[in-house]
């Protein structure tokens, strides 16, 4: 049988267009973000950047692996607890109590510098992501969503009861400290640009992952898993790797947020947070590279400026969910991309 003909120059030109489009939008985004804190409230932009990175990390899983996690709050929340605790108190494990029996460890460590606290928190979330991923990838589709949600709820109860998280109060007054022992992060503008650098690094890494051979296999699994298996890929390993990467990057977002906003609380590990990151990604555009960032800015702006309206924020979020699912499945950036693609110069 004759092979179907694919006009070679057409596909290559499309790829060239796409990489030019991504490069330009990334540069534009960086310019806007660099001047943004001088024009609008820096705290808001900083918060939106942390959630933007979180949503991008989440999108790596749903948009490119086709796996809907409904428990990503566990990575954001645990990372912020790890980072906040390590930056504030260091490690003091004189004794551990397991099943009401004390064990002597005698482990002491001074409070960590912000960079080290973030690195340690990301390492911790990577381990959590590995364990949760091992369990969750045993099932697909709807079950995957329910399992991740249940695991996240387990982590929530752990955070509610564990002594180091401060229960309902959370961990407050976390010192920002000095970055690499030189730059004092109590300067808000400096802190902003550090957060922006972390965000840029995270997004670039995600872009690299998506466009690597690994990312291509991931997309193949999303499109048709049995076929990917029959070609000879061990799809479980790819899915697990994507899950761990997504967890680690969510952890990076959570740890940075804990240092920048100097606290960690139960809000970040609640199931509502897992829903919010789904909403940001859906609104911005699932499977687009920068869509989740746009979605995060819209949702955080809504919470930031409409916070007096109380539960109306929840209602609006619900309405956005319904409208997006019924009529706007490509999301904001997805629609823009479709328009650009249709109107691009030949």
């Amino acid at each position: 049988m004759k092979e179907p003909e694919i006009p070679q120059d057409l596909t290559t030109r499309d790829e060239a267009w796409e990489s030019r489009y991504h490069r330009n939008s990334f540069l534009l985004m960086m310019v806007v973000l660099a001047i943004a804190p001088w024009l609008i409230y820096p705290q808001f932009v900083m918060l939106a950047l942390c959630f933007g990175l979180f949503a991008c990390a989440f999108n790596l899983l749903i948009g490119f692996g086709g796996l809907l996690s409904f428990g990503h709050a566990m990575f954001l929340g645990m990372a912020s607890y790890f980072a906040a605790y390590l930056a504030k108190s260091g490690l003091n494990l004189e004794t551990v109590t397991i099943f009401s029996r004390p064990f002597t460890l005698g482990l002491h460590m001074a409070p960590l510098s912000p960079a080290l606290a973030i690195v340690a928190a990301v390492a911790g979330t990577t381990i959590l992501g590995y364990v949760a991923g091992l369990l969750a990838i045993k099932r697909q589709g709807i079950y995957f969503a329910m399992i991740t949600l249940a695991l996240a709820q387990m982590v929530f109860f752990f955070c509610l009861q564990a002594p180091f998280t401060g229960g309902e109060d959370g961990i407050q007054a976390v010192p920002r400290g000095k970055l690499f022992g030189v730059w004092d992060l109590s300067n808000d503008m400096l802190m902003y640009y550090v957060v922006m650098a972390v965000f840029a690094a995270g997004v670039l890494l995600i872009y690299r992952i998506i466009h690597s051979p690994f990312g291509q296999v991931l997309k193949a699994i999303r499109e048709n898993e049995p076929r990917a298996i029959s070609i000879g890929y061990r799809t479980e390993r790819y899915k697990l790797a994507a899950f761990v990467l997504s967890a680690a990057l969510s952890g990076l977002a959570g740890a940075t947020k804990a240092i920048a906003f100097q606290n960690a609380s139960l809000t970040d590990v609640q199931w509502q947070m897992s829903g919010e990151v789904v909403l940001m990604t859906l609104l911005g555009g699932m499977g687009t590279v920068f869509g989740p960032v746009v979605g995060a800015f819209v949702i955080i702006a809504m919470q930031f400026y409409l916070s007096d309206l109380g539960s109306w924020v929840t209602i609006t979020q619900g309405i956005i969910f319904v409208v997006c699912v019924l009529a706007f499945r490509r999301g904001i950036v997805g629609e823009i991309e479709a328009w650009l693609r249709a109107h691009r110069r030949p």
Partner: protein
């Protein structure tokens, strides 16, 4: 600790178990035909409890009326939702159904929190079910016995209807192959609407049962539904009887944990879920 306390916890476990069973049964029935997970199930359970509250305070209708009217009303809203929204999603990835119903759950919960705040509203059990029986080894409140007994009856009734009647047979057939069943002259779209309505009505009925036991509050459903999801993963949605057995069984295990190791009572079901996933990923009663 006394045996009195142990039996007390076992009773609470059975009560929770009856809610797990009723809710996971509804989820399984809906999933079987619609292939979506109804995230709004917890919110619809909450709506059932609120319906009972309104029927009593605004219309003066007693608990017994609420048992019939609340499921009918909430089930009807469910059918409207299915006709207007869910119907458009059947051709898409099943995840969109989950996202849509999650959005609906947020809306329901938000609207009620806006109206009634987070504090619970009291709803008392009817006169004829107050008081209790002294069984010698424990005190059994009449209302709780009624809830456990009647949810068992409803669960088994649903099982009988689906597994043993002609209606259930065509329902199961439509789960396997809707196109073929449609060709036999069964109105499958109507069947789907009614099934969703019935699943939602089961949730609302559970809400009415729960109203006198827990406070009627806007967030009563959201934390429960996550546990029910874990129950569904443990049981597997393949069999109706499986949902019932898993629901009651896990309620009992939770009650035992509260007695022997209370710190873990919130998490024990999730831990069991993790173990089941390692040993038997398809769930205890699920088929591959």
């Amino acid at each position: 600790m006394s045996t009195q306390a142990l039996f007390g916890q076992l009773l609470i476990g059975l009560i929770n178990g009856s809610f797990y069973a009723l809710l996971s049964l509804g989820l399984a029935v809906i999933f079987g035909l619609l292939n979506i997970i109804n995230f709004a199930h917890g919110a619809q359970y909450m709506l059932g409890a609120f319906a009972a509250y309104f029927l009593l305070s605004k219309a003066g209708l007693s608990y017994w009326w609420a048992l019939i009217v609340a499921p009918l009303v909430v089930g009807t809203t469910g059918m409207v939702i299915e006709r207007l929204m869910l119907k458009r999603l059947y051709k898409l990835d099943h995840l969109y159904g989950l996202l849509l119903t999650f959005g609906l759950a947020l809306i329901f919960e938000g609207v009620f929190r806006n109206e009634f705040g987070s504090a619970g509203l009291p709803y008392s059990a009817p006169e004829s079910l107050s008081g209790g029986l002294n069984l010698g080894f424990m005190f059994l409140p009449r209302y709780r016995a009624w809830v456990i007994g009647s949810s068992l009856v409803i669960c088994l009734g649903t099982w009988y209807m689906i597994e043993r009647t002609r209606l259930g047979a065509s329902l199961r057939a439509a789960t396997e192959n809707p196109t073929l069943v449609q060709a036999f002259g069964v109105n499958v779209p109507r069947m789907i609407t009614l099934t969703y309505g019935a699943g939602v009505a089961l949730a609302a009925l559970a809400g009415v049962f729960a109203a006198p036991i827990y406070q009627v509050s806007p967030q009563m459903g959201s934390s429960l539904i996550i546990v029910v999801f874990a129950v569904v993963v443990i049981g597997g949605m393949g069999s109706i009887m499986g949902s019932i057995v898993t629901g009651f069984g896990l309620g009992l295990i939770e009650g035992l944990t509260k007695y022997f190791y209370p710190e873990a009572s919130n998490t024990v079901i999730f831990v069991i879920m993790a173990i089941v996933l390692m040993v038997r990923p398809q769930g205890l009663f699920g088929q591959r």
